[in-house]
């Protein structure tokens, strides 16, 4: 069996009185697409923000290629090869495609001048490798469709050569055609050896391109299933009921109600 590229162990996170993550375990294998599903308050985005260094966990441990790591900022996670693409694309509409891909990392020539040509050539090569079709990398991002914009955002994340790519609802606001475009891009990433965590509320997507699917409910990891061994109905039931979690893990029953922050005694 391949060793996990990322292992999250017993991750805890409180936001004031809200116990957002209650000892979540998650692991990602190299080159797999892991669907991360759950209803709205399940903690999917919070868990991924912990992994990407955007918010610090209150407890638990992250292992990267087997070694414990601690990320104080997205830059530290990025340095290890963990990239997150946020739901709102995080692009600069006033800049062109090449500039967005190299945002803040402008190739410099002679120590002072931005090498625009080199930047454009690198952006073109990158988009070609990912088979993202744009007429010109000098088109302002504001003129692109939602699907293309998402593809550009993913291309920027990939330009950091990440080992792990986290996508937060990448198809949330896309048309069916654009959704297909983005999903096939993500499916192709396997060939580049990138492990992908796909946060999604559309189970069909996860079943279309995912290898495994992890279910969260109310800040707990309920189950992880191989996609080919599971059915959508089964996963849906896990999302809604939390299913077997309570049975297999009686020590971690959900707290009744949202009272004041209760001390975590284990």
């Amino acid at each position: 069996m391949t060793a996990a590229v990322v292992e999250m162990r017993a991750i805890e996170k409180h936001f004031g009185a809200v116990h957002a993550l209650r000892g979540v375990d998650l692991d990602l294998l190299p080159g797999e697409v892991l669907g991360l599903v759950g209803d709205n308050a399940a903690g999917k985005s919070t868990l991924m923000k912990v992994l990407s260094g955007a918010i610090p966990p209150d407890g638990g441990q992250i292992l990267f290629r087997g070694a414990p790591v601690r990320f104080a900022s997205p830059a530290e996670a990025r340095a290890r090869g963990i990239e997150m693409v946020y739901q709102d694309f995080a692009l600069c509409n006033n800049l062109d495609i090449a500039q967005n891909i190299f945002l803040g990392r402008w190739p410099v020539r002679g120590g002072v001048l931005v090498d625009r040509r080199a930047m454009q050539r690198a952006a073109e090569a990158m988009l070609e490798r990912l088979r993202i079709d744009v007429p010109s990398v000098t088109v302002q991002v504001r003129h692109l469709s939602g699907g293309r914009r998402q593809s550009v955002a993913i291309a920027r994340a990939l330009s950091f050569n990440p080992a792990v790519l986290i996508l937060d609802e990448p198809t949330a606001n896309l048309s069916p055609g654009a959704t297909h475009e983005v999903l096939s891009l993500v499916a192709d990433l396997k060939q580049h050896g990138v492990g992908v965590i796909l946060i999604s509320h559309r189970l069909q997507e996860v079943f279309a391109i995912g290898d495994r699917v992890a279910v969260l409910k109310q800040g707990r990891h309920v189950a992880t299933r191989r996609v080919r061994d599971a059915t959508e109905d089964e996963i849906l039931e896990l999302i809604v009921t939390g299913g077997r979690a309570a049975a297999t893990n009686p020590a971690r029953r959900p707290d009744a109600g949202g009272g004041p922050e209760s001390p975590v005694g284990d």
Binding site: A75, C92, N94, L113, V114, S136, L144
Partner: protein, 338 residues
Amino acid sequence: MTVEHAASAVAEAGVAPRRGWGGRVMGSYEAAIYAALLLVVAAVSIATPRFLSPDNLFEVARNFSFIAAAGVGEAIVIIAGGGGIDLSVGSVMGLGGVVATKLLGMNLGLLPAVGLGVAAGWACGAVNGLLVTKAKMTPLIPTLGMLSIAHGLALVITQGYPLSSLGPAGPAFIALGAGYVGPVPNPVVYMALVVGAGWAVLTHTPFGYDLYAVGGNDEASHLSGIHVTRVRLAAYMISGALAALTGILLAARLSVGDATTGQGEELNVIAAAVIGGVSLLGGQGSVLGLFAGAALIGVLLNAMVLTGVPAFWQEVVIGSTIIVAVLLDRLRIRLARD
């Protein structure tokens, strides 16, 4: 639908790919503002043929050179976004001139006097920038306060009297403002240097790229590792320093340090930037557009003088021009969103 719309927009852009600075200049709004400038120049020269005489043209250029030079700093602040604007440039121009002339009068050399005058403006910009980025104040407020503070400090230094005894370096200082390079007045040369440098920095350096990125989406810039607050702080420092340097040149041109020099100039400067296509929402506009905006204001002011429009009406015209320019800006934003 949106895909088709985007495809056609992309196809249009594909017909005329933006190549280097030429493509950037002729992009869109800048081309329109240069066309408008040519039209106004044509109309004015038909109405008053005297307008096109070389002497008058250099006079016009010398008058708007101060607006354009200070405008480069203003444009940088506005492009950096976050509602960025510097209302204090006029007063800081006055303060810079007063500090430099006061020091000259205390027998300081030309370079140290000019250097310390610029440093005073830089410090004003630093205070503005820190209040905006660290204290998270709306840029209107600290820079409006600085408008008053800088003017007040200039009055404290001059005690209300013009400073006209400029010490041993005085003649060299006056020559700085009144001299020529060939047929070109020094202030015009100074403007050309500042506009050229501003253009180069904004379009070819990492700082310029950071500036547009921060102005376009500060959250995305931050996530990509750009130091948003540092970029914005630098923008205010540049604006303050450039305003002071410009004010020093203006004092040299007038051979006197006066606290009232530059008063109200912030309106012309902001108008030049906005007319030139620098969007108040940030991330949009260029130094070359600003230059055209300043030239347009200069030509309009000169035309009013040549055609005998009473001086009192000039402020009405400039104020109206600003409002029209901001309306156009809003219109452009709405069009861009559709």
